[in-house]
């Protein structure tokens, strides 16, 4: 630890460039399981203070959420506290609010030398304050860990009001919820195509068809439609293919098409329900649910529909596969002893591991873009809310509180 600290300080003195600092922040970070960092309350440069959404709290919450930091929150810089808790770096900022606008400096400091290591200035409307804070945390996260953080990611989900269901989007932490659909009584199975484009199933015509929409433009159009059921879409992050389930050949089978809805191709030919498909992150494989042996189980096949093999055997009813962005795990929901819990399994069917052991049903897993968390729907407490958990079963966090949230899809 001491060696790392010395190296860290030494390099700042010597190199002083941003590039060199990044390297050394990484070596500082690599010395801990939980990186010690302090977040100090920001200071207003005029009399206008922040009453809601304090950015220093958002940054600290982000760091806490990741599970990779030991975060100390303090109203002011405190050398004794820092020394006592092994704090080598801290975040501090200053801001000026004028009307509806804010100008904010967010800085990362060396706690020992009290040197500025890195700073960012954000300027904009106050309503974007949370976005500014998330963006700064992402920047810090990247500098310390060399990874893209999940703090600017968003989650699509469905809100269930009586018999109407509409799509919503929210920040990964549950804030900033916006309604995306208003037409059609039932809108379900939302999935990101890219950060601004979504695909989902709507009953706008009184039956399920696929629609695509632009979040920023608020526009949508019908995508795949027929007299039959077109449902459960998922987009690849690698190529332009959408995988979905269609009953145009009799009962639900897996199909793919491109992003314009053309080049439809049937991949499964079973007289059983084949549905709920998702892509492997490399785009070579598809995981899906099939009841070909009597009850739903998870299968994996190549992207052209061959080499199908079953991968779940630990329960009578297993469903909703979600492939980790790292590729090494598939999350799913498994019915055991009359209730559903989230499990993970390797794509070759080995190492099934239970993630949740919670009251109520825990279903519909979706991975954070950095694979550090799984969001899912839990009916613990009687209401349906979205929660987050780490794949090892730690760090559970409630994301929604309205009690009617379902079917989350985390942005890629």
């Amino acid at each position: 630890m001491i060696n790392i600290r010395i190296l860290f300080l030494y390099s700042i003195v010597i190199a002083g460039t941003l590039y060199a600092e990044q390297i050394d922040l990484r070596s500082y970070a690599s010395g801990f399981d939980s990186i010690p960092i302090a977040v100090i309350q920001f200071r207003s440069l005029n009399n206008a203070g922040i009453t809601t959404n304090p950015p220093w709290e958002i940054i600290a919450d982000d760091l806490d959420f990741s599970g990779r930091f030991f975060v100390i929150r303090t109203p002011k810089s405190d050398s004794a506290l820092f020394a006592g808790k092994n704090i080598g770096i801290f975040i501090y900022g200053e801001y000026t609010i004028t009307g509806n606008d804010i100008e904010m400096d967010c800085n990362l400091y060396d706690a020992t030398a009290m040197d500025l290591l890195f700073g960012k200035k954000y300027r904009g409307q106050l309503k974007f304050l949370r976005d500014m804070a998330h963006r700064f945390t992402n920047k810090i996260y990247d500098m310390l860990l060399g990874e893209r953080g999940p703090f600017e990611s968003e989650i699509l989900f469905v809100k269930d009001k009586g018999n109407t269901k509409h799509l919503y989007i929210m920040d990964y932490d549950g804030y900033n919820q916006r309604k995306l659909t208003s037409r059609g009584k039932v809108n379900v199975f939302p999935a990101f195509i890219d950060s601004n484009t979504i695909v989902w199933t709507s009953f706008l015509r009184g039956k399920p068809d696929l629609y695509t929409g632009s979040i920023s433009a608020g526009s949508f159009s019908i995508f795949v439609y027929s007299r039959y059921i077109e449902t459960s879409p998922a987009a690849s992050t690698i190529h332009d293919k959408i995988v979905y389930a269609s009953s145009r050949a009799g009962n639900l089978d897996i199909y793919t098409c491109n992003r314009t809805g053309k080049n439809k191709r049937r991949l499964t030919f079973n007289r059983s329900i084949d549905t709920s498909p998702c892509w492997s992150p490399n785009g070579y494989h598809i995981a899906f649910t099939s009841d070909r042996t009597g009850q739903p189980q998870i299968y994996v096949m190549d992207a052209d529909g061959v080499n199908t093999r079953r991968i779940t055997f630990n329960g009578s009813y297993q469903d909703s596969p979600a492939w980790s962005p790292r590729g090494d795990k598939i999350a799913y929901s498994s019915l055991q002893n009359g209730k559903f819990d989230i499990w993970t399994v390797s794509p070759d069917g080995t190492e099934p591991a239970q993630v949740t052991a919670l009251p109520g049903n825990n279903e519909y897993p979706t991975w954070s873009p950095d694979a550090s968390h799984i969001a899912f729907v839990s009916t613990r407490g009687g209401k349906s809310n979205i929660y987050c958990i780490r794949p090892d079963g730690t760090g559970i966090k409630q994301i929604t509180r309205s009690g009617n949230a379902k079917m989350p899809d985390w942005s890629k």
């Binding site: 018999n163 039932v186 379900v188 199975f189 009184g206 059921i229 449902t231 389930a245």
Partner: protein, 187 residues
């Protein structure tokens, strides 16, 4: 063997003809008692007042009434069909309901219907979308075999998205949601 059967059936035919012949003969020979002469009316009976005329066969030309009558018949004949958990097999009691539905559709040959499958709230929405469709398809197939052209029947599924009762905790409650409903598309 074939010859034998033929001879046998020819014999049966002969006996049958003979029997029917003797039957005819009997009818001709039986004489009926002559009817007594009608007596002339001696008393005058008042005609029944108009109010008491039986109106059960009356045909209404009121549009709203006709519509209500049609809707009543639709509800009476195109009844909701129920299923067991995670199943799309038709139960005996439900098959009887489908007989009534088949007859009704035969009597109204211009009627086109949508059969909507629904599921209870257990299991994933994706899988239940397929299960609901299987429920509507098994009904379409039954009615097709009953003699209703497939072109008169559309099927779809709402999966578990439109339960009759939400938030069930026992099977009696879940059972109300495992169903297929008829909707009239055109007539």
């Amino acid at each position: 063997m074939v010859m034998k059967t033929r001879t046998l059936s020819a014999g049966i035919l002969c006996v049958a003809l003979l029997l029917s012949f003797t039957g005819c003969k009997k009818q001709v020979t039986t004489l009926q008692e002559p009817q007594p002469e009608p007596k002339p009316d001696t008393t005058f009976t008042e005609p029944e007042p108009l109010q008491s005329i039986d109106t059960s066969d009356e045909v209404s030309f009121n549009e709203a009434e006709l519509e209500a009558e049609f809707q009543r018949k639709v509800q009476e004949n195109l009844r909701t069909i129920y299923f067991d958990y995670d199943s799309y097999t038709l139960k005996q009691a439900e098959i009887e309901k489908l007989g009534a539905a088949g007859n009704f559709l035969r009597e109204h040959p211009s009627l086109r219907v949508l059969i909507e499958g629904h599921c209870d709230e257990r299991g994933s929405s994706e899988y239940n979308m397929g299960l609901g469709e299987n429920r509507s398809r098994v009904i379409k197939d039954y009615l097709k075999n009953y003699g209703i052209p497939a072109i008169r029947m559309e099927i779809t599924s709402w999966g578990k998205e439109r339960p009759v009762v939400a938030g069930c905790s026992n099977d009696a409650c879940h059972a109300k949601n495992r169903r297929a409903e008829f909707k009239v598309l055109s007539r």
